[in-house]
Amino acid sequence: MTLSVRISQRLESFTLDATFEAPAGVTVLFGRSGSGKTSVINAIAGLTRPETGRIEVDGTVLMDTDTGTWLQPHRRRLGYVFQDARLFPHLTVAKNLGYGARFAPKDAAPVDRDKVIDMLGLGGMLDRRPGTLSGGEKQRVAIGRALFSAPRMLLADEPLAALDEDRKAEILPYFERLRDTFDIPILYVSHAAAEVARLATTIVVLENGRVKRVGPAGEVMADPQITPLGPGAAGAMLEAVVLAQHADGLTELDAGGLRLLIPQVARQTGDALRVHIEAQDVMLALDRPEGISALNVLPATVRDIRMGDGPGALVQLDAGGNLILARVTRRSVDAMGLKAGQPLFAILKAVSVARDAVGV
């Protein structure tokens, strides 16, 4: 499946002018608030109408101003999970779930409803009404409701933004499971780097209504030139495998030969997972430091340096084939004489890897 978008639309404060293509998997529209992410997803859903452009999902043209094609929202078959769950207050959870099912075309792949209910843990709340559900439960029902309508693709507009931290931690794994167990492409809007690092297959970076970069998640996250939330929030994403669980509460990971110790994650040996490493947690040293408390000292090579406008700089490192970002001062870059190709050591405190920075 591919999503192909080319739209232009005047908005209140700027002009949205976005063109991108996305392959299967989870595509994240990434950018700060007001960058036009929601406008893009609403245009795809047909809730707003761009002045010019063309949108195609999986060979079906949803809109094309050149040919005058315009598919009504209810004919697009895109499941939309809104930030505010938007459940129907007068219907039970079961009826909310079933609302879109009658409109699923006969030739669509049948939805395994039991599997959806089971995966989202909805079994116990089918007879309840939305008014009695917590925010996290509502969002789970909203995901299920979208899946039941047998959509071509799932759209999610910051589905976690309205939830508190605990609820976020509760819902995010459902999206990971959705990505891994259901063969459904997802377009996910987010301005939270940790979410992006855990979910994204492809990242589309939006800035002031324009696409700044499209690429595989690992590459885009580790690009020092692309920092949609500012260099302070930059961070790379490592794909790793659980190597061992240690008795002292640490989990050892293997990322392409690189050994990494992080606080314990409840996973089996051999499980694959993703770790988001924030650039500001990474320290650099020219020589291997001795007698240091940090547990992760990783041999690496400098690939790219982006000097910031302020006192900071972002250094992109290659550590055993993994791309890592380190945020240091420009003064340090000068003092250490850093330049591309230079070997050095990246230092990462194990405890600086937060629990929500680790996903499957």
Binding site: P73, R86, P89, Y99, R129, L155
Partner: protein, 230 residues
């Protein structure tokens, strides 16, 4: 009972109920449509339509009744067209229902419009993304959510229709058995010396019907609200 109320009084009560029920039922579909248009659509003449709907509320009822007579009377522009088709309003109970319906219309539209404005259009958007066409969205999402407003508007309209006097007596006069509704009958009794007791009996009946309608609507509204809020 029959000795307490004379046949003329029973006639007035039955006629009033008939007029009010028909006025309310007939006003509901256009009232719902116009309320929806005013709440949701932008179109030229929206303010004019809004003003027209509210006109019976502000005009003296006698003026509304006279305008109805001019329009729907046998020689009026609408009345003369309808008469050959066998539809006559002037001096018939149907005319009383028309007058009552027109007088109740603003109250009906206001109540429904407020409830439509309280429905979040985002819910309807969500329904559309699930594949539901517009008509289906209206029937399965909008309508159930505005049911309390429709009910409140209908009860208000019914009460107004039961009590309508000025426009009715101007448009269809005060013919016992034809157009003599409860208020007209009370008025007629008050014109005849010695009929005060009959008037008082009808007044008591009026109060009882109004109270009953209010209580019923209150019960129904609570039930619906509980269902809608979940």
């Amino acid at each position: 009972m029959t000795t307490w109320l004379g046949p003329a009084e029973w006639q007035a009560i039955a006629l009033s109920l008939k007029v009010a029920v028909w006025a309310t039922l007939a006003a509901l579909p256009p009232g719902l449509f116009i309320a929806f248009a005013l709440a949701r659509w932008e179109f030229p003449g929206r303010q004019i339509l809004n003003g027209l709907v509210h006109l019976p509320l502000i005009l003296p009822p006698v003026v509304t009744g006279y305008l109805l007579l001019l329009t729907f009377g046998k020689t009026g522009p609408v009345g003369s067209v309808l008469e050959p088709l066998g539809i006559v309003f002037a001096f018939r109970w149907t005319g009383a229902a028309l007058a009552a319906g027109i007088m109740a219309f603003p109250l009906l539209v206001r109540a429904i419009r407020l409830s439509i404005e309280a429905v979040d259009p985002k819910l309807e958007q969500a329904a559309a993304t699930l594949g539901a066409p517009k008509g289906w969205v209206f029937v399965t999402v909008t309508l159930p959510l505005i049911l309390p407003g429709i009910l409140a508007g209908a009860i208000l309209a019914f009460a107004k229709a039961m009590g309508e006097f000025g426009a009715t007596i101007t448009f269809v006069s005060n013919i016992p058995g034809q157009t003599q509704t409860l208020p007209s009958a009370i008025y007629a009794f008050l014109q005849v010396p010695g009929s005060e007791s009959a008037a008082i009996r009808l007044v008591i009946i009026s109060v009882a019907i109004a109270m009953l309608a209010l209580v019923l609507s209150e019960i129904a509204a609570q039930r619906i609200a509980r269902r809608v809020r979940g």
